[in-house]
Symmetry: C2
Subunit: 257 residues, 2 copies
């Protein structure tokens, strides 16, 4: 119930907030309580109207700029499951001191829970979010389906790692090293492409942790390594990305160019 | 039952196989079926005798040299839970082609299951091993204890990452960058130290995924960055490491200097 309603609201964000919504932080939006999905409706002009809505404490706060694919995949997972959160776009590299306050090893994302408990590491955070949404698991329970999702997610963030290496250090290392990173990126993408074919595990709905990770991987790669033309080699994965490009989890977390 | 028996057998390895055991691979040992713990006994001279023991197919094969803390923590977890495995000490960096056969992004560890299914990524592999040992979980089920273990494990491998960066790239980067990595390492160690104090979560028995990850982190750091004197700053963690130094999960997975 909640998920469907939230997705509908999010899909109408531009109409609700107008042009400003494109740069508004998610927290502006999620400060309204949507736990009760009868608390709002759309009037005939498409404008959102609230009934019985109360501002309340935001239950979770995500720390980390969406320039980080690790932070972005957590944000996309939160939005895909209709989980309200506030967002603090900390750049772990440029704002090292701030990132250190949330995480002993000073990385993003961190997730601050309602009672002040802080989670770190995108994989551990996704494990927790999965606990919150048993009716639409991000990670299937037990056995083979679970292993497949965790494996594909690991391949996806393996692509993040090497895309970051290639982008930030590619010019400083020997050509053989850069070539190795490219091979790792392409190897990962090909495996994801195979999984994105019709009936493949990345085609599960709703999107699971692996599919979210993979879609973010392709966009991260395109942004950080625009010269690396990979899309022709991964038709099924490219199709998956195109299909979800404008869906709220991705449209609302796309970092400015 | 199995775990206790296995630990006992492992503790007697030198007497069983003599000097050779020090360099024997775990697979020599685990080719014997210990599922039935009445299948062996020790004779009065301390020598192992088998009854009803049969050689059988090794159910899992771990790919990755113990120079990799990620591979080592998986091996330590396998041994700590008495899970038989064969070991192929592939160096992901020097043996890129071999690592690529098991993992699209060419990293270690990979874990090959009995039916040929291949798992990758140490976190995903630990998640699977946890399924196999419900009576002695590596990762507690649900809620706060689970989050704590996953968080501490993430801090531990955050230390792996920055220890690797500092060791392999520390001389090629600016002092500020190297200083940042040291701060991340020390921040992580201090958080682990706090968790290793009496009654702290790293003191749970049997060792969980977080404690295994932390112990491997301290040893990895000492080996890769011997000039970084950290032990005085982490008394509780150092005590934990000293206590388990000679236990099978660590003694049998220590990479040669």
């Amino acid at each position: 119930m909640l998920n469907v309603a939230m997705a509908e609201v999010i899909s109408r964000l531009p109409r609700i907030f107008g042009a400003r919504s494109k740069s508004a932080s998610m927290s502006d939006f999620f400060m309204i309580d949507f736990i009760d999905d009868r608390s709002y409706s759309f009037n005939p002009t498409g404008r959102l109207e609230f009934r019985n809505a109360v501002a309340r404490r935001v239950p979770m706060k995500l720390i980390g700029t969406y320039l980080s694919p690790y932070a972005r995949r957590v944000a996309a997972a939160l939005i895909s499951r209709g989980l309200p959160f506030e967002h603090e776009a900390v750049n772990g590299y440029r704002e090292f001191e701030i990132a250190s306050r949330y995480n002993p090893v000073a990385k993003v994302p961190s997730l601050v829970l309602d009672d002040g408990e802080i989670l770190i590491d995108s994989t551990a955070i996704l494990d927790y979010l999965n606990e919150l949404t048993p009716s639409a698991p991000l990670i299937p329970a037990g056995s083979r389906a679970r292993r497949t999702t965790l494996k594909l997610a690991a391949i996806g963030y393996g692509v993040y790692e090497q895309a970051a290496n290639l982008s930030f250090r590619g010019r400083d290392v020997a050509a053989t090293e850069a070539g190795r990173w490219k091979a790792q990126i392409l190897g990962g993408l090909r495996a994801l492409d195979e999984a994105a074919r019709d009936g493949g595990p990345l085609r599960a709905t709703p999107l699971d942790a692996a599919a979210i990770t993979a879609i973010v991987a392709v966009e991260y790669l395109a942004r950080t390594n625009p010269d690396l033309e990979t899309l022709p080699a991964i038709p099924a994965l490219a199709e998956l990305v195109a299909e979800y490009r404008d869906a709220p989890p991705f449209a609302l977390t796309r970092a400015a160019a």
